[in-house]
Amino acid sequence: MRIKIIIFFTILNFNILNAETSSIDSNKIFKNLRCLICQGQSVADSNSEFAQTIKLVVRDQINDGKSEKEIYDFLIEKYGEWITYKPSLNKVNFVLWLLPYLVFIIGGVIVFLRFKKRDNR
């Protein structure tokens, strides 16, 4: 009986977790979308016709079960990479993504070498 109860709650827990992960936060997407006809405003901040339409489209796609990536891919296909504030990693911008890590690692190596040199003295 105990085992059955444990299995029941484990399955229930899994279902709850899956339900939570599958729900997409539309506001998060709106904040990462640029309003193309506004000055420095995201779709979330803007009340322009364009922003309102994009909000409707994004909500429709969420209701249709599309993933966050599919929604971004669709909008990038129609409006270009410029529509997103946080562009995805690709061969054009990979240096910008990797640079902070490179600087961090090289900086760490320099600091380490300096300390080592000081210790040797």
Partner: protein, 174 residues
């Protein structure tokens, strides 16, 4: 040796930062439609303005060229381009598909009654959602496509005389 590495690293970092600024400041940050040209329109589902019918890609592939024009009665610049659309309607190889965006039906009909109806087919996009499929972000905008449904050119804003000449030359070459 170690000092040389540090100096080289700092130098490379400075060059990189200057490079990023140089490219970033010279890059045109205004949205353009270069990416759309050459793309194929794969799916269209537009409600017909007056008939109980859905306009699909099949309807467009019947025409040699189609100019999809997004307009509304409340849009001022749409009135400016209207005489050009009426002229384009006379081109044999070109069909005009009007998409009435976020408009009241009666106002749209009145607009066409007052200024003339250049469209071979008229669709309605009440909420503007279908226009997103065409990368539309304001009206008026127009898209010239060929029989293979490839986007030849996108016109942002009202169609100018130059645009008219371009469309005329393109469709007559066929």
């Amino acid at each position: 040796m170690q000092k040389k590495i540090i100096k080289l690293f700092i130098l490379l970092l400075i060059v990189f930062v200057i490079g990023v600024f140089f490219i970033g400041l010279n890059k045109n940050s205004i949205y353009d439609t270069k990416g759309l040209v050459g793309q194929k329109i794969t799916e269209i589902k537009l409600d017909h303005f007056s008939k109980n019918k859905i306009i699909t890609v099949k309807d467009l592939s019947k025409n040699n060229f189609t100019l999809i024009n997004f307009w509304a009665s409340w849009c001022g610049p749409c009135r400016d381009e209207h005489p050009i659309l009426l002229k384009l309607n006379k081109e044999k190889n070109l069909k005009l598909l009007g998409v009435n965006v976020k408009d009241k039906k009666n106002n749209a009909l009145e607009f066409l009654k007052d200024f003339g109806d250049p469209y071979d087919d008229l669709a309605r996009d009440e909420l503007g959602k279908h226009s997103v499929n065409f990368g539309i972000y304001g009206i008026p905008e127009s898209i010239l496509i060929n029989q293979d449904l490839i986007i030849i050119k996108k016109f942002i804003g009202p169609i100018s005389k130059n645009d008219y000449n371009y469309i005329k030359d393109t469709v007559r070459k066929q």
